[in-house]
């Protein structure tokens, strides 16, 4: 696969200076730290507190070097910590390789670190990949001369449900506290006490509530911080590591997945400077065991006499063929947003070539009227080369967030924005109902906006060329917001990027999993595009009729208009109206499900095919930057189920119209060869409908009830099925609450913690209230799918009117 990189313009010349390290002259950019300069020429100075992505602190004193010449002819009288020493022109540095003083200092430091360090190696997770072990062997003494008493603490101590702290092992490098304070902005841990009793302490009122807490386990140079889910599972040399791209959100983090005995044991953040640097979020790190339960599917199932029974592959294929052939082209395809690019392409081609329908939609979530148009013109067919990237976010002077909550929906975008806010003074403006914790950590100016009014709020902003507009998938639910975003971007020269919530969303758009969009950004309405595609696919023609969107498909299936459904990994609860989704699946004439676990879809399916887990897949995810991220196969066993693509190829063969591709490699090659269609501009089948923005009505409070607008989004750690079976992670989820403004709370007569009922659609939920200063009036915010509040069950979405009333905990 080719690596797609952005063409860079002329690079500003970097001022360099010359220093001499251990007799070797090296030119380094001005401002380089001595420890980095040494690394450039392959000299590893031992260190603990130093980390290239954290501000230097000089705490551990391990990286001692001698500086016989500061650059002005005079030497420094004492050895220096190279991690806080900025290179000066003409500086002479001697590391442990050429300086006995530096070597002795380093050996001495290691001896000091080991005097209070417990003899835990045999039971410590870090053993085998431990910088203290490694550096003690490379730069330390063979034996300790310490014969005294070590300081002890009760251990381990949970600082959150997932992270365990062993204070005896801690070398007080402060990497964890610095990471929390600087990078993630969650200062729930700090160094407390002093002297040899100094330790990492937890904020008294909260556990270590951070979406990024797992990173401290990775950067801790000893085994002081360990994760509850990986503790005692394996030694690193027993693990087989594979590079993958995360399958949860659209940030596109590279991960290192470690497996042992054909089971994934842990996932670490991979090193990829352009995207996630060296960080990832807790969901990506810990939520990979959803298929470990008893509900894993490994054999095909057929419904007989109302119940599913195990069948052989030929039997199941035959049954599926019978049902699909009978339906002809009256079939809808629901792909969901979790497929790899290749699998999504397989569904897209299957729908058009094999089934003869354009009714395919990846949006198993609330969508909006303008969305398809927006995706077709502003997203599909774009590549990394002309896209907004993480680097652009870091370099921008102003970023506007519309219908997008970075910390919850794309954590690594959040981290990069925060980095830019801290280091480069980036200004962030958020058009959101209230200032969330994430907004606060970005010092964002929040334009408190009632859901539905985003378009107006956006038009009221003053943007300049070079500013970046980040639009989330939720903007589709705000009338006119997407169109406004496009208009504003065009008018001001600001750059626009769409940030979906799932890893497979962008790939699904590219693969053409939309009723009006063919692969490569080809609009269905464009006959030239259809001809081009038909030629490439070597078929006579392609179906020209408009396809149905997801909700329409389910409604049509329920009424009998649509005869069959082919469904990939989707959850009815994610749809705008979960009951309608279930009804559609229930009443549909014939349902084929490709799933890896038993689900609400398989419960209603006629034929179920087991498909491979993400760790059994090879493929690609496209992230929000349109950047392809490789997913390599982690676990390969003889009995590994087939991928979605392979199953579809088998079905296609049996239906008499071969798919033409069987493997991910073939699919990717074919899709790449198809190329992208020039972005559609003017030719539109329907004029873009700009729904009139409903003016915000002030909340009417009568008899303790208020009619308000619903604001909602998915929290990072919530009831999504991909996070199942990981209790420690689930325990770190934010609590479900209903946020209201102080004025609304007063009008209702509630204070923090009182129960309120949010009713809309087909029911109501009861939640505790959180009074949120600065929140938009006439609005209530509720998490979209947290335990106790799956809004799909009520059938209400962002921007709908709901009733808020006091009480409700009956």
């Amino acid at each position: 696969m080719s690596v797609v990189t952005k063409p860079t313009g002329p690079v500003a010349p970097v001022e360099t200076i010359t220093v001499t390290i251990d007799g070797t002259e090296v030119q380094v950019p001005k401002g380089t730290l001595a420890i980095r300069a040494a690394e450039m020429i392959g000299i590893a100075i031992p260190r603990f507190c130093d980390h290239p992505l954290l501000d230097p602190v000089g705490a551990c004193r391990q990286c001692m070097v001698e500086v016989p010449d500061m650059g002005n002819g005079r030497g420094m009288p004492k050895p220096q910590a190279s991690c806080t020493l900025e290179c000066a022109p003409g500086m002479q540095i001697r590391t442990q390789l050429t300086s006995p003083v530096a070597a002795k200092a380093q050996t001495g430091m290691l001896e000091f670190l080991l005097i209070n360090h417990p003899l835990d190696c045999p039971i410590c997770d870090k053993g085998g990949e431990c910088p203290l072990q490694n550096q003690a062997l490379s730069n330390g003494r063979g034996e300790s001369r310490y014969e005294g008493v070590k300081r002890t603490f009760p251990k381990p101590v949970p600082i959150s449900a997932q992270i365990l702290l062993d204070r005896e092992r801690c070398v007080l490098c402060a990497r964890c506290t610095r990471f929390s304070e600087q990078i993630s902005g969650d200062p729930f841990i700090a160094l407390v006490e002093r002297g040899a009793l100094q330790q990492v302490g937890r904020y008294a009122d909260h556990p270590y509530d951070s979406y990024f807490s797992g990173n401290v386990v990775q950067i801790c140079p000893v085994g002081a911080l360990t994760s509850a889910s990986y503790r005692f599972q394996s030694r690193p040399f027993d693990l087989v590591s594979t590079d993958v791209t995360c399958e949860h959100c659209a940030s596109g983090c590279r991960l290192r997945t470690d497996q042992r005995h054909f089971q994934v044991k842990r996932r670490l953040a991979g090193e990829f400077a352009e995207v996630n640097e060296e960080w990832n979020c807790d969901k990506g790190r810990f939520a990979f065991v959803s298929a470990r339960g008893d509900d894993r599917l490994t054999r095909p199932l057929i419904r007989e006499d109302g119940a599913l029974r195990v069948a052989s592959w030929p039997e199941a294929i035959d049954a599926a063929v019978a049902g699909l052939a009978a339906a002809g082209s009256s079939v809808g395809v629901l792909t969901g947003g979790r497929l790899t690019l290749e699998d999504a392409y397989g569904y897209s081609k299957f729908a058009r070539v094999v089934l003869g329908t354009n009714s395919i939609d990846f949006r198993s979530r609330p969508g909006g009227v303008d969305e398809a148009q927006f995706l077709a013109t502003r997203v599909a067919g774009r590549t990394l080369a002309d896209a907004v990237t993480y680097a652009d976010l870091e370099a921008a002077s102003h970023v506007v967030l519309v219908g997008f909550e970075p910390e919850e929906e794309s954590p690594l975008v959040f981290l990069r924005l925060r980095k830019a806010v801290r280091k480069k003074g980036l200004k962030v403006t958020a058009i959101a109902p209230f200032a969330s914790n994430g907004n606060a950590k970005l010092n964002a100016t929040v334009v408190a906006t009632v859901p539905g009014e985003e378009a107006a709020a956006l038009r009221a902003l003053d943007l300049a060329a070079g500013d970046v507009l980040l639009v989330g998938e939720r903007a589709a639910l705000a009338p006119g917001a997407l169109a406004a975003a496009a208009e504003v971007a065009d008018a001001t020269g600001a750059r626009l990027a769409w940030v979906p919530r799932r890893a497979g969303d962008r790939g699904a758009v590219e693969a053409g999993c939309l009723p009006g969009l063919l692969p490569g950004g080809r609009p269905l309405a464009d006959s030239a595009a259809r001809v081009d595609l038909a030629a490439a696919w070597e078929v006579e023609g392609l179906p020209t009729g408009d396809g149905l969107e997801a909700a329409a498909m389910l409604a049509a299936a329920a009424s009998g208009e649509l005869k069959a459904l082919v469904v990939a990994g989707v959850e009815p609860a994610d749809f705008a109206d979960a009951a309608a989704a279930r009804a559609g699946l229930e009443e549909a004439g014939f349902v084929v499900s490709l799933e890896n676990r038993l689900s609400e879809v398989t419960e209603r399916a006629d034929v179920v095919f087991p498909v491979a887990l993400i760790e059994e897949h090879a493929g690609t995810f496209l992230n929000w930057e349109h950047r392809p991220g490789r997913v390599n196969t982690v676990i390969r066993q003889p009995n590994t189920p087939m991928t979605d693509l392979r199953v579809l190829a088998a079905l296609a063969d049996a239906l008499g119209t071969p798919l033409g591709v069987r493997t991910a490699q073939q699919a990717l090659t074919e899709l790449t060869e198809l190329g992208t269609w020039p972005a559609a501009t003017a030719a539109q089948k329907k004029p873009a409908r700009k729904a009139a923005a409903k003016p915000a009505k002030p909340a009417r409070v009568t008899d303790g009830e208020a009619t308000v607008r619903l604001a909602t989004w998915r929290q990072l750690i919530d009831g999504g099925r991909g996070q199942d079976n990981e209790e420690a992670l689930a325990a770190t989820a934010k609590p479900s609450l209903a946020r209201v403004s102080p004025a609304l709370a007063t009008a209702l007569g509630v204070v923090d913690g009182d129960q309120v009922a949010v009713s809309g659609g087909s029911g109501w939920y009861s939640l505790p209230v959180a009074v949120t200063p600065g929140m938009a009036e006439g609005t209530v915010w509720v998490p979209q799918n947290s335990p106790g509040t799956p809004l799909g069950e009520l059938g209400v979405v962002f921007g709908d009117e709901v009733t808020l009333s006091v009480g409700g905990a009956e």
Binding site: R61, K104, L191, R194, G195, A196
Partner: protein, 336 residues
């Protein structure tokens, strides 16, 4: 920094006020040790209430009185830090914090000197002291002297002269060792009675003038015990940020305790010195260097006492009761 420097608190408070007036500052942060807090508080409230003032020097709302743990190291950042929170953390700061805050932090002696220099002129000031260390200062004498206290003298005075001023070593005893400026300065012996107590003089004999808080010990004192007590102080005060100080002090205390108990092993004196070599010059701040100074100078001048710690407890060689200034019935145990 208002310390109970043997002067009345009121006098010290008046110095702060005059310094504030000179600096036209409207805000004062008073940093004092815990026992002083209530007295300072009374002082501040009385100042505000005193009639005859055109306007209160210090509006009540802008006075902050905080207590802090007294630390050996003079880092201003850590001093401010220790006022801000009970744990001490030394941080790197771009400039001296005092320049950022609209407040002056005079020590008792320098603020006193300031007033006099302004009054009498710099030539008068320069007529005292030595070539390079000019003027007068306050020497604090404590320990086994007849009249411990603060003595204002020109820089360059010798210990012999200071002992005369303070009545000398207590009757029936003779000087064994002393420090020119608190425990962080290498110890000196009776050999150095006539070395000028100025920066150059002290530097010349391998010590430092430091804070000029001279501690004087007579022959009843065990050097091993004193060194242990000093290093226990450094271990207690260490902030814990950097490895050599945090771990090195922890180790030194345990080793010195074995010397004190007479259970040291052969080669432990070399080990002690080697640990000091790994600590000194490698730490984040000078606290570790202070601890190292105690140990290396003690071993340099009284190695035999340390070597004796391989067999005999220090309290047998130098019964502790004898170095006390009052009657002691039993052996006094010293804890960290």
């Amino acid at each position: 920094m208002i310390r109970q420097a043997g002067q009345r608190v009121a006098k010290a408070w008046r110095m702060v006020r005059s310094a504030m007036k000179a600096a036209s500052s409207r805000r004062v942060m008073v940093w004092c040790s815990m026992p002083m807090e209530s007295r300072i508080g009374r002082m501040v409230r009385q100042t505000i209430a005193w009639p005859g003032l055109n306007s209160p020097i210090v509006p009540r709302s802008e006075t902050t009185i905080s207590t802090g743990t007294w630390k050996a190291t003079g880092s201003e950042a850590s001093a401010l830090g220790s006022v801000a929170k009970p744990e001490v953390c030394i941080i790197t700061m771009p400039r001296m914090p005092a320049m950022l805050a609209p407040v002056t932090m005079p020590t008792a002696s320098s603020s006193r000197a300031q007033g006099k220099v302004v009054k009498n002129g710099s030539a008068w000031f320069g007529s005292m002291g030595t070539e390079k260390s000019k003027g007068m200062t306050l020497y604090s004498l404590s320990g086994h002297v007849k009249r411990p206290g603060q003595f204002e003298a020109p820089l360059g005075i010798t210990l012999r002269q200071l002992l005369e001023l303070s009545g000398g070593i207590r009757d029936g005893h003779e000087l064994k060792f002393w420090t020119p400026g608190g425990s962080s300065t290498p110890i000196l012996t009776a050999e150095h009675l006539d070395v000028p107590l100025d920066y150059e003089g002290m530097g010349g004999v391998g010590s430092m003038l430091g804070t000029k808080a001279l501690q004087v010990f007579d022959e009843t004192t065990s050097v091993v015990r004193t060194t242990l007590r000093w290093v226990e102080f450094y271990k207690h005060e260490s902030c814990g940020k950097c490895t050599p100080c945090r771990e090195g002090n922890w180790w030194l205390v345990q080793l010195l305790k074995s010397f004190e108990a007479g259970t040291a092993q052969d080669g432990d004196v070399e080990k002690l010195l080697d640990i000091c070599d790994n600590m000194g010059g490698k730490s984040f701040c000078a606290l570790a260097d202070g601890a190292v100074a105690c140990v290396t100078s003690a071993v340099r001048h009284f190695r035999s006492e340390f070597e004796a710690g391989r067999a005999t407890p220090a309290w047998e060689l130098f019964p502790y009761g004898r170095s006390a200034l009052f009657e002691v019935q039993e052996k006094v145990e010293v804890h960290a």
